[in-house]
């Protein structure tokens, strides 16, 4: 069964100019998003996962950043070719985004009701009372109790979890086809995180929205996403269905990422065991060699890894990895 992707990114490159020349923060990134799918993008800080989201929204800070190459096709149209005003019609309407910090991503001087309804009025020809009605409806949908009263509250009167719900209500108010969630729960407590994911899952089913979930936490991906892309130093290193990636990952980085996190067990035993670690730190993007950027931290490294960039290889159905040692016995 082959579906037409809703969003397709081809060969995306983003460069940042710094004092010491330009740094490529995204390098030849390809990805696609199917309708109704939840795609996870996972990696450490600086791997380019947030930059991917900003590029799709065309919100890369320019300068110093610049999308230097590639295509971003939304329903077949390249959003990189659109004018800024055409793009404004798409943002918040076709593609919406929610951010990590619910504390700072709402404007503190306006009521939450006016912030949600403004987005509705901007993109849909609704008058004030229709927008208000829609706002109450949206706030109710994201599980905010007594929305008729809440719309007159200011962001500081709400808890972190409630604010993130408002952000989601705002992002979903125009029924976008794509919702990008950049670390939506990192600042929240686990019980609140669970509530937010429950909500996102419900909304995704009811509204048939495709979701791109960006996170550093593989276990969040495991619970929420259908398919996952693992990124390292501005490149995609592995891509596949969630269960394939978690149970049969092929790239040593993905394996390291999964194994280095303590997993909550029913029976942890009495003795503490040592965690696996990925040695070293993420490389400086300005000083990458010609080969695989993970090579200096990789336990399977061979000479070839330092010299040539490994191409993407198919290792299973819908499962791709970029590693010279794919297929070799560990």
């Amino acid at each position: 069964m082959k579906q037409e992707p809703l969003l397709q990114v081809n060969g995306l490159c983003v460069e940042f100019s710094t004092k010491n020349g330009s740094v490529r923060v995204l390098n030849q990134l390809d990805l696609h998003l199917l309708p109704g799918e939840a795609l996870g993008i996972v990696g450490e800080s600086g791997c380019g996962k947030s930059m991917t989201a900003l590029s799709i929204m065309r919100l890369v800070p320019t300068p110093p950043g610049e999308i230097s190459n590639g295509q971003i096709l939304l329903n077949g149209d390249d959003v990189l070719q659109l004018t800024e005003s055409q793009m404004e019609d798409i943002r918040g309407n076709e593609i919406s985004m929610i951010f990590q910090e619910p504390m700072t991503s709402l404007n503190p001087v306006f009521t939450i009701g006016s912030q949600v309804s403004e987005n509705i009025r901007r993109h849909q020809s609704a008058n004030t009372s229709q927008a208000k009605e829609k706002t109450i409806q949206m706030l109710e949908a994201v599980g905010i109790p007594a929305p008729e009263l809440r719309i007159d509250q200011y962001p500081h009167e709400l808890s972190g979890g409630m604010r993130q719900r408002v952000m989601i209500a705002m992002a979903l108010s125009c029924q976008p086809s794509v919702l990008i969630a950049d670390e939506p729960t990192t600042a929240l407590d686990v019980t609140i995180q669970a509530q937010i994911f429950e909500l996102l899952r419900k909304i995704q089913e009811e509204m048939a929205t495709s979701v791109i979930l960006i996170t550093h936490d593989m276990s969040v991906i495991a619970e929420f996403a259908d398919r996952v892309i693992v990124m390292y130093a501005g490149r995609k290193v592995e891509e596949g269905l969630v269960r394939d990636i978690i149970d049969n990952s092929c790239h040593p980085y993905t394996q390291g990422l999964i194994n280095c996190v303590p997993v909550l067990k029913r029976d942890p035993g009495l003795k503490r065991v040592e965690l696996n670690e990925i040695p070293g730190v993420v490389p400086n993007l300005a000083q990458l060699g010609p080969g695989c950027s993970f090579a200096p931290r990789c336990h399977k490294v061979v000479d070839r890894c330092y010299q040539e960039m490994p191409p993407e290889q198919q290792v299973g159905e819908n499962h791709y990895a970029s590693c010279w040692r794919v297929g070799d016995a560990a």
Binding site: T18, P279, G280, N284, A286, Q287
Partner: protein, 291 residues
């Protein structure tokens, strides 16, 4: 353990102080300010040895226009304007600096105590600060000076008394912010004393905005002194630029040079410190450093 955690040379800056100067010297306006300022300091320090003479002495015909005999002319009593400007430089600088030093001492001490100890100390000191803030500064200085005999020390003190409030508020704000940071708690966890935390840990980190404020304060103090002397409230024995302007103000239509040259000297000096202040502000602002 692994030792592959290479430090990358790209983001290896020099020591913070060196980095600061590099940033400062990359700023053309700031360098211009520094040049102007050095010129004034040079005049004040070496001018008197090259160009000796008492500024109060009547050396030529009154109101001689600038020319070959007197480079910048003479005033209504026949005093040489150039000698006055050179002498005035040292007086003006002395007042600017000492008033600023007094301002900093009062302001920083009060700000540090209020910001660090908080609670009633803060409440008390801030009420005192507010009291001084609501007084109109020029009027207050004039009252202070007319109560006593005007002298250079009194003027310095009066200027400090009206200008320390800003410094105190700034110091307090920085202290309130920094004392909440974990490295201050860490210092306490290691058993450091309050005095050492204030002086060695918080104060150095609070310095950047203070340095900028100090630079700008020198300019304000100079202007204050000029205004006082213009009003005839300055020290009559101190031949400052403000005094020159003040004493010649009635002859402005007959001898433009007696007012223009000291006025220009004040303008350039204050412009110099402002440019230095702005340059330091940019150089000390971490947000402007990278990229």
């Amino acid at each position: 353990m692994n030792n592959r955690q290479e430090l990358n040379p790209m983001v290896r800056p020099d020591r913070p102080v060196v980095e600061l100067w590099l940033m400062f010297f990359a700023n053309k306006a700031a360098v211009l300010g520094l040049v102007l300022w050095l010129l004034v300091v040079f005049t004040a320090v070496f001018g008197l040895t090259i160009y000796t003479g008492d500024p109060f002495e009547m050396v030529g015909a009154p109101m001689t226009p600038p020319g070959a005999e007197f480079l910048l002319g003479t005033d209504y009593l026949g005093r040489d304007v150039l000698t006055g400007i050179i002498h005035g430089a040292s007086i003006t600088l002395a007042i600017g600096f000492s008033a600023t030093i007094c301002t900093v001492i009062i302001g920083v001490v009060i700000g540090v105590l209020a910001g660090y100890y908080g609670r009633w100390v803060d409440n008390l000191l801030m009420r005192v600060t507010e009291f001084f803030q609501v007084l109109p500064p020029m009027l207050f200085v004039m009252v202070l000076i007319s109560l006593f005999t005007p002298s250079i020390y009194l003027i310095v003190l009066a200027i400090a008394v009206v200008s320390w409030t800003g410094m105190a508020r700034l110091t307090r704000a920085e202290f309130l912010k920094i004392k909440e940071l974990e490295y201050v708690t860490a210092e306490r966890a290691m058993g450091a004393r309050n005095a050492s935390i204030m002086a060695k840990v918080i104060l150095p980190n609070a310095l950047p905005p203070l340095i900028v404020a100090v630079a700008l304060n020198v300019g304000t103090a100079i202007l204050f002194e000029a205004a006082l002397s213009f009003l005839g409230l300055g020290d009559p024995n101190a031949y400052s630029w403000g005094y020159m302007i003040g004493s010649s103000r009635e002859y402005i239509w007959d001898s433009w040079w007696t007012i223009t040259f000291p006025g220009f000297a004040i303008f350039l000096t204050v412009l110099g410190v402002s440019l230095i202040g702005d340059g330091l502000n940019d150089a000390l602002n971490p947000k402007l450093r990278e990229l």
